[in-house]
Symmetry: C2
Subunit: 378 residues, 2 copies
């Protein structure tokens, strides 16, 4: 089986597993850095491999508007284009179309929007999103969904959910036609929407599960501004009803503490721009919470960012030097903090996997959070 | 001997040599990338090592105003600070003080200027420049000089030259006192000034050679806007009178074609921001001349930047992908083109060394330039 998932251990709702994809295996829980334009900002594929990244996410919307999926396909597909030979998941473009600024018009067929690159009118539909992702050639494609803001009304969320389900049916049909010609090339995963409304979330999950025998399932529309109580409430409501035998991907999460909270609630895969974006802003994760490298306290600090870390930044440089790079606007600083933050998350989830398999996740989780939050989070 | 230079071969005026410095050996002719703020912009020390860089230059002026030589010294000196354990040359700060915008007042004692970082008044003198560079801890320090623009009058150039010679005497005395306490730590090299006036250049060289038994000598104040005829004329006038037994460093050069022209005229060491600055602007050297990676012609081009090159950019990526990185303002693109351009120059000088030692420099030089300029240079 090109697409397979095996549970290697559980502890409460938390799961440690192994996901097989066309471009290799992924141990879960796993974090996917975001390569918006077919590159994880500031990092090379060698950097990602050194940070033990197993799988990345690329943004269909961004690659569609520039350079265009035709260019990516002509240059050998996304793996070859960006020289990353391990698993890639592409999002559907739905989140970007609905969250980015600018003109858009939604109808039941799809969404019309204006390209921010050249101003041209573009259209994404469930079928087009499958086609674009097929051309990009990631291991996993996502079904095109209608994403609503975290504070959407029940009515708006229900309306978007109805549309998402109808679109899923069309995407699945189109994807089956593609796969008939080239089997095992790319999986299509559905997205469970429904904002913070538990009744809509349960309905969404039921409808998704009725529509196919999926090799993975995503929970979307969270971490978009709602409170953490709502986020975790949705995960707790969905978890018992989600199939145990396939990986569960929580989109857009996130921060170290949020990753562990979601792992505790049975989620397996994650993506977020936070480690690289925060890194470029000078914020570095440490076991004692994030630090801002620009802080004057680090001016003559000979210690590494994080003395438990094995990344290039921590093995090579003092906080004093890293601070200097940021004060002098040197690009190497952006890269080193991005690299460290990504490695911090891959190490965190590697430890989580070990503790789940040892049946010791809960106490480790508690201790880890106690230390991470002892100084108070920014 | 910690500081030693050995000629390994000559061909006409061109020389191939081996320079020994406290942090290692340098085969000459050699190009030093510029690490303005204690980092070669976008490149890590690992990148530099991969590009076979033997020695880098760091800017005393920039490191003095930020983070301050006291911070660099507290963090172990420049080598440890920036994690580069091979030779470093620091310039004297003279060029920056005289060429950067803003307030400055010159008198015979030194130069007063305003820090662009915090607006504070600072003073550089021949002694202070020695002290600052001693604190930074590079292998080679440069004597503080009065640099004039390329179009300076004979009178202005003669005045600055007189001052440069008096400053050199003071710098040399101060440096001897430092070395008495910690021998073989750092060499001090003088700079031959005199703008484009051959009489002043000859006088400068005479005065420099009278003042000490130097382990290296620099030619400064060229490549600052004068015509190439003037630059090469100065080198041709100086070459027969320069000691053969020490390395000759031509400051601020350069472009591939200029490096070879200077090697042909007996110069051994070079520095310039061009490969990294041009790289960040999307300009990449190739054996057929520079190309602009943003050009639409590269949109679907699966070829590497330079199919003769062994750098990470050329071994890994298509021109189409590199163009995409630049069009999407992705930082990885800046790094990859900088890396390629630096590697291009180290390969160029490595080939020059081989051809000098084989007594075949002149015909190789001619062929190389013919190909490089066949399409016309930008």
């Amino acid at each position: 089986m090109t697409f397979a998932f095996r549970i290697l251990g559980t502890d409460g709702a938390a799961r440690a597993g192994a996901l097989r994809l066309p471009h290799g295996a992924v141990e879960t829980p796993a974090f996917m850095p975001v390569g918006t334009h077919g590159t994880v900002r500031t990092l090379s594929p060698q950097d990602l491999a050194a940070a033990r990244v197993q799988m990345i996410l690329a943004n269909t919307y961004h690659l569609h508007v520039r350079p265009g999926e035709d260019v990516v396909a002509a240059l050998g597909g996304l793996h070859r284009f960006m020289a990353w030979d391990r698993p890639i998941l592409t999002d559907s473009g739905g989140f970007q179309v609905f969250s980015l600024e600018g003109y858009r018009r939604v109808d039941d067929d799809g969404v019309e929007f204006r390209s921010p690159v050249d101003g041209s009118r573009r259209r994404l539909t469930p079928e087009r999103a499958v086609d674009v992702q097929w051309a990009l050639g990631g291991d996993v494609a996502m079904a095109f969904d209608h994403v609503v803001p975290g504070d959407a009304t029940h009515e708006a969320a229900a309306d978007a959910l109805g549309r998402t389900t109808r679109w899923l049916e069309r995407a699945a049909r189109h994807h089956r036609d593609m796969v008939a010609n080239r089997p095992h090339h790319q999986a299509l995963w559905p997205v469970v929407q429904g904002a913070g409304y538990l009744d809509l979330r349960r309905r969404a999950l039921d409808e998704v599960l009725e529509l196919g025998d999926w090799s993975g399932i995503a929970v979307g529309g969270l971490a978009v501004g709602e409170s953490k109580t709502v986020t975790l409430g949705v995960l707790e409501a969905l978890e018992p009803a989600m199939p145990r035998s396939i990986p569960r991907y929580l989109m857009g999460v996130g921060f170290p503490e949020d990753l562990l909270a979601a792992v505790a609630r049975g989620m397996d895969l994650f993506d977020c721009v936070a480690p690289t974006r925060n890194g470029r802003n000078g914020s570095a994760y440490t076991p004692d919470g994030p630090i801002n490298i620009r802080n004057t306290a680090h001016r003559r600090d000979a210690a590494p960012l994080d003395d438990t870390c094995d990344c290039e930044a921590c093995r090579t440089y003092s906080r004093g030097y890293l601070r200097h790079l940021f004060m002098a606007d040197e690009l190497l600083g952006l890269r080193l903090l991005s690299l460290h933050n990504v490695r911090f998350l891959t190490r965190l989830l590697s430890e989580a996997r070990q503790h789940i398999r040892a049946g010791a996740f809960a106490p480790w989780h508690r201790e880890w959070i106690d230390r991470y939050t002892a100084r108070g989070l920014a």
